[in-house]
Structures are given as C-alpha cells and as structure tokens.
Symmetry: D2
Subunit: 258 residues, 4 copies
C-alpha cells in the first residue's frame, strides 16, 4: 500500500493570542502535537501541517492533490477561513479525500457545509473528567483503546448536538456534570469519509493523551480513500444509452408475460 499522506490543519490563533497558556500545554503548537501523534502511531505515513495564516491557508491545489486525509482544528477564527478554500476542500472530500474534524471544529465552515445543520451543542469549561465509551467495539477507529478512555481535564460538550444522524456512532462520552455527548461519529459525503471526534481543547493537554492519539491515528487510517478510487467528484451523467433493450426483452422466457 502506498504511503498515506496526511495534512494537519490548525487555526494557530490561540498559539499566538494565548501564548503563555499554550507554551505550558502545547509548546509545539496543537497542530504539531497532533502531527507528532500521528507519526508515532502510524507506519508509512507522511504528515505535514498547515495553518490559517499560510497563503491559501496552506491548502493550495498542490497540497490538496497530495493529501489523502485532512484533519481540521479551529475555534476562534472560523469566519476567517476563506469561502473559496472551503469550497475546494469540500470538493476534495466529495471526490474521496478523508476528513477528520476535531473538537471545536464542529463550528468550522467545512463541517457545517458537509452536515447541513447548525452543529451547535452545550458546553462548559470546568475541568470535567471525560469518559469516552466505545459503542462499536468492532470498528477500526476503536481499536486498541480502553473502554472507557479516561481524560482527566476536559471541556464539557453536551447534547443536543445538532448533527445529522451519524452513519456510524463510534463513541459516546460522559462528563463529571452528568452530561453526555456523541463524541465519535462518522458520515460519508460523496466518496469521502468524515470522522468527527470531540475530545480535545486548547486549554487542556488532551492531544498528548496516548489513547486520544491512538483514536486520531485509527481515524486517519480509516478515512483514507481506497487506493484505486478515482478522485473525481460525482457529477451529472447526461443521456446515457439504455442498459436494457428489446434484446433483453426477447430473451425472457415466453409464457410469463403479463
């Protein structure tokens, strides 16, 4: 199997704006921490990072053409992502590129565009313990992680999470306050696979958590397009010749016609 190529996109705003906190929690930045976790957990993977501040947000045609799976973390600057880049990413997903949407990325333009709903939820920043439970023990995304994954120190995300019914619900989380959240969900859009995973926040070291890193690695491998899949967006097919003709009709055994 050819090398899996991943682009980890990070908003890179908290890293600048809240530098003191970020230096303590993510000294290498969140996106580099996520990328390092992928390299540690996956064989034969090539991981690059890209940020909002890069030209074209680092998502040039060249980069996207060489990306099998894109991961997306944003929070404070969703509105600053250009609509044109969002449209390009959207087309790539429909054509087969995998997409992982992380935590506050639920409010990103690309996730809302793919879901068609508000993607709103309940939240509280109170240093909760999150227990992430697996409801699909057979699923490759859930491979190699404990039941539950225990995360000491997390922002609470609670239902009602306004998403379309997931094609697959992989994880459900609880929090110290008694809230629950559908924390691991997949959908197919066109030929692409989308995986949303909520654990993770700029104020907590969640992306250093080995089980969280394992889930992201599993998710990236799961979301990769099939090797032989053609990377074209599904499109209109105009006026194809019929596939059933009078020859087919004449072949039918007589006597059973109406």
């Amino acid at each position: 199997m050819s090398q899996l190529r991943v682009t980890v996109w990070g908003e890179n705003v908290h890293e600048q704006r809240d530098a003191e906190m970020m230096q303590r929690i993510y000294p290498d930045s969140m996106h580099e921490t996520i990328a390092a976790g992928l390299r540690k957990n996956l064989d034969d993977v090539e991981v690059r990072t890209a940020t909002l501040q890069d030209p074209e947000h680092g998502l040039t045609d060249e980069v996207l053409d060489a990306t099998d799976v894109l991961t997306w973390w944003g929070h404070a600057a969703h509105a600053d992502v250009s609509d044109e880049i969002v449209d390009k990413v959207h087309q790539r997903v429909l054509a087969g590129m995998g997409l992982l949407v992380l935590h506050s990325g639920h409010f990103s333009k690309i996730f809302i565009k793919l879901m068609g709903t508000s993607c709103s939820l309940q939240w509280r920043d109170s240093n909760d313990t999150e227990n992430v439970w697996t409801v699909r023990p057979d699923h490759p995304i859930a491979e190699g992680v404990p039941h539950p994954i225990r995360i000491e120190g997390q922002e609470m995300y609670g239902e009602y999470f306004d998403i379309p019914q997931p094609d697959e619900l992989i994880f459900v989380s609880s929090f110290t306050g008694g809230e629950v959240f559908r924390s691991g969900c997949t959908w197919r859009r066109g030929k692409g696979k989308v995986f949303y995973f909520s654990p993770g926040d700029q104020a907590y070291p969640v992306y250093h958590h080995p089980d969280v890193q394992r889930v992201l690695a599993n998710g990236v491998r799961w979301a990769a397009p099939s090797v032989s899949g053609n990377r074209e967006v599904p499109g209109i097919v105009a006026k194809p010749a019929p596939r059933l003709t009078t020859d087919d009709f004449e072949r039918v055994r007589p006597g059973v016609q109406g």
Copy 2:
C-alpha cells in the same frame, strides 16, 4: 382515529417472590403501574394487562388480535416464556403490531429474536442517579419531557449494549459512576415498530416517575400501526407478471436506444 388498544405484559415474578419490597415500591404491581401511567397520559386508549402466569401468558390469539401495541417487562423468568407464544408475538410485530421493550426486557426472547444480537450490557445496582438526555428533540417519543430527565435512584446500565445499530437513537443516559447507555432506541421490523427504553427496575420506583410515564405514553402512540395498514406478515410473492413489457419499450422515444 379509532381507540388505541394496548396490552401491558408483566412477568409478575418479583411481585410474588419479593413481595415485601414490591409492596413498598409497586403495591399495584409493575404492570398495573405502567398501565395506569398510560391511561393517565393518553386520551382514547384501552389498556389491559397480561402476565406470565396467565394461560398462554395472557397472549391468546384473541388478545393479540385486539392489541395495537404490546409493552414487555421481564427479568427473572425470560426462559419461562414459551417459544410458541414468542413466535406468535414475533409474527404480530412483523404484521404491524407495535412493541415497547422495557429495561431488563433487553434479555427477553422476543427482543433477542427481533434483534439477532446478544443484547448484553454492563450493569450495577448501586442507586445511581440517571440523567436521560434527548438526542432527537423533534421526535414524538421525546415530546414534553425535560432535557435531561432526572431519575434519582436507578440501576446502572452501561455500554457496550450489544444491539443492532438503532434506526433511531432517541435518548442517551449517564449514571453517577460515569457510565453511558443508549437508553432510547427504535427499530422497524417488518411492518412493526419496536421501541426499547431502559429506565425502570423492580427495585426503584421509576415507573411512577411522571417523565418516564410520559415517555412510555409517547412511545405507545408512536408505535401504533397506521390505521389502514393491513395486518399481514410480509410474505413470498411467487411469479408475479412483469410490470414492464414490450409496450413500454415501444413507447420510448426512438433514437436514444443503445
């Protein structure tokens, strides 16, 4: 709309075997308590009860022919339900009768037969608080109940709950111990609708809880078969005449054939 006819089936074993505890918690028996809750919350409904000890477990052809929705609570005597009665109930569900399966009914023969999985789960009897959260705020089953429904005093049911992926996931619960459970799920089987709802136990007064009574009433109304639906089990249709003939081929506009 004609009157909705409900049969509330109860195992009626704890009522005998643990009479002292049941006298405190369910002096009228669990099944009569559930039935009373339905009558209180639904207009134009006729509710009867039936128990394991009745001839044919109270589920004679006559009773089933006059049942639009059956509710099922069992726990200690699943194996004592006759296979023949289970088959009759199964056929009725496929033909359109609605079925509510309650709490420990997850291990009933009828639920396992309809699901095809082990229906196992985690459990702990430790007087937990259960918070029942709505993940389908638009669903009729969730109408008129708070978000969350708070139940002080409940047996813990936790994932992994070995069920097929629900057609609809309505509620997700959390417990004091941090466990989560897909506590409100629906499936269609044949022409019948099945609703599983976990809150409820012989050792806790859950079936007196007004919000739980409301959910059961909503569920019964939701599960009722359509008025005009014919109550026949889907069956084999042998050798129907084709619905497409040479006339159809000749009507097609010339010039577009392959």
Copy 3:
C-alpha cells in the same frame, strides 16, 4: 389538530419560457397543479403558492412564519434564488418546518445546503415508463399507493445519486432503460423533516397522476412539525450548571465504589 399550512414553491420559468408545452401539460402551472392535488387529498389543509418572480421569491418572514411545510420545485433557475432567502428557508427547516424537494429540485440551493453533497445523478429524457416500488410498506408516506406506482412517460433519473445515506429509503424506481433510482428518501435536519421525491417533470403530466398526488399529500402530512414543538433553531447552550453533583454521589450505595 390545527390546520396544516403548506406553501408550494414553483420556479415558474418553464410556464413562461415554454408556454406552449406547459399549456398542454400544466395549463394551471405546475405549482398550482401540485397545490390542487394537496387540497384534494388532505383534509383541513391551507395551501398557498409562491414563485421565484414574487418579491423575496414569495418567501417573506410573514409567509414562512405561517408555513408548516414547504414544497420546492425548480429546474432552470436554481442560481436565481437569492442566497439570503435560501438561508432563511434553511433556518426554518432546522427550526422544524418540513420540506419536500421535488424532481429537479435535487439541484436546488436549499437541498444542496441541507445535504452537503453534489446531489448529481444520471438522466435521460426518453419517455420511459417509471415503476415506483415501496421498500417501506409500513411508512405513512407510502400509504394508499399501489406497489408499484406505474408512471407512463417520465424522464429517467438513475444512480449514482450523490446524496447522504437517507435516514429512511421509502421508494426505489426502475425505468424502461434498466436504470434504478432511490426515488423516495427522507432525512432529518435539525428539528425539520426533509422528503425528496423524484417523479415529476415539466415535460410530462406526472403531477396529475393520482398516486403521485397521494404521495405528495402523505409526504406533506408526514413532514409537518409536531404541534407543540418550539420553532427555534437548535443553538449553543453556554455554561449550564452541572446536572450531577456531590449530592448524587453521596446517594450512591457505599461498598460498590472503585
């Protein structure tokens, strides 16, 4: 139950541009034909029409506030629908307004916005016979129509239809050329229900077909929001107080703690 209020939206372009053909097939316009079919098949319904050319495309706040279900037919002028009106309709759907999308409406802005996919398909205008088969015989949308619904004279729509996996697949169609199409699909978006139904075209009298009229009527009744549902778009809930506190923990029976 209060009166069901329906708005039938029509592009009203073919009615102008292809007036001779439309005079033969839909002398009252497609939208008025659809509206008349709804009035004939539904009791206690109030149906109005609105067109692209009306101010705000006829979808003012006043009209939308008084609309329980909106039906949408467009074909030649999807791009002329203002983004602002599309956003308003989108918000109403998430808040609970039902939406029926008809035939070439698969390429409407509102449908694409709700689906997140390209919504492309195969097509051929060759006067095919379409057989519409029911794969959910219990579903209210399929009530009272034959199996199959036979439509002599239809534009072929064929797979691959680039939609998200339907929450419910109600109908599957075949065509004289051997093509198949998932012709009746439902999805929930936010608190709203969406029903896509493909049969119908400006060049064929499909909307006069009594079975097609019956399906649209069933669909409108199915898509209506629940009477008591609050019509607010799901939104962020910030910093709710925890629902589980130390009191809950102290109530748990001692001895079973980890």
Copy 4:
C-alpha cells in the same frame, strides 16, 4: 496481515437432485465454483468448502475456529440445517466472524436469526436480465466492478424484501420485468459483519460471472474481522466499579456547580 481463511458453505442438494442441469451449469458444484472465484480474486487466502451432508454440516468447532469469513448458499433444504449448528455459527458471527449470505440464502435459518424479520420477497424464474447498480461508489465491496454489472440470465428477486434497514446499501438491481431489489446490503451484528448479495441461482451460471466473483471477493475481504479483535461474544459485565468518583468531582473547578 495473516492469511484470510474462508469457508464456503453449500447446501449441495441441487448438485445431487438436479444433476443433469447442474452438470451443465456448475460441473464443479456451486460451492467449488464460488471457492475457485475467491482464490482467483484474492491474494493470500485459504478457502475450504463444507456441505450440508458433512458431519455437523462441515462446521465443526475446529473448522469455525479457523474461519474468518463464512459464505452461505442454501435453497431447498434450509430446514435440514440443525439448530445447534445455526446457534454455533450465530455465536461466531457475534464474536467477529464475517458472513456472506448468497441469493436464496435469504431464507436460511442463520440469516433469519440475525435479521429478526421474515426475509421474504417477490420472485420469478423467467431468464431476466439483471442490472446491478452501485449506490456506494466509494465502498470496498463495489471496487473494480462496472456500473452497472450486467447479468444476462437471472431469476428475478423483487421488493418488498422484508429485511431490517441495511446499515449500508451497496447495490440496487433492476430486472427486465421492471422490478427492483436491494441486492447488496450490509449489517453489523455484534462484532461480526454480514453482507447479503442476491445475484446467483442454481439455474443460471451467475457464479462464473467475473464481476460477481469480484464482488464476492471484495465482500469476503470487507467482512474479515480486524486482526487484533478478540473473538469473544459480547456478554454481560456485572457490577463494574464506577469510573467516576468523588476525586473527579473535587477536581472540577469550583463556582460552576449547580
């Protein structure tokens, strides 16, 4: 990845009872033909066959312990399969063994047990042409086959096919008579994956068709359990210690308690 081990189960009744016809169409028997197709299309696979007439129907504990994926074709003798063997196979599927159910296997005990529905359908033996269309172009089961797969000479299977809603619908077929059928469906049951594929019949050489052979090979690879998955049936977990304790409550930031 270790070698994929497949057991192809065949009823082997038509091969005896209709020997003349079978000699013409499947001189090596249907099961050996299917097995040969798998060996041709898959690298690193070990395929054995087993039949109804073998001791324990060839499905001893030894064989099942060494089976990653089981394929099942039956037609005339479903009732002759012992319930004890069906239960063993069922348990293996819940524990992670993949299962492909083929054509008339829709009425097998094992398929009905896993589905919980009647699994009935429409049928007609009239030498129809079947066009098998892909509605999941991204799915590994659909890899490398044309759109549509054209099969000249097939028994018609038509809707209403009484199955639970598939977790994934992969293929939809049409027939010369205008019928449609959901011909490629997947479900998860416990930790096992189930794939039903309808094309195939003892009276037509469908299992020699290269595209059909490709689908079966894709299906077998897709259904294989994850390498590291433990092969235990999901079961009851009694009285686990809570995963949330007073320590978790004390860690929560003060001031945000209810």
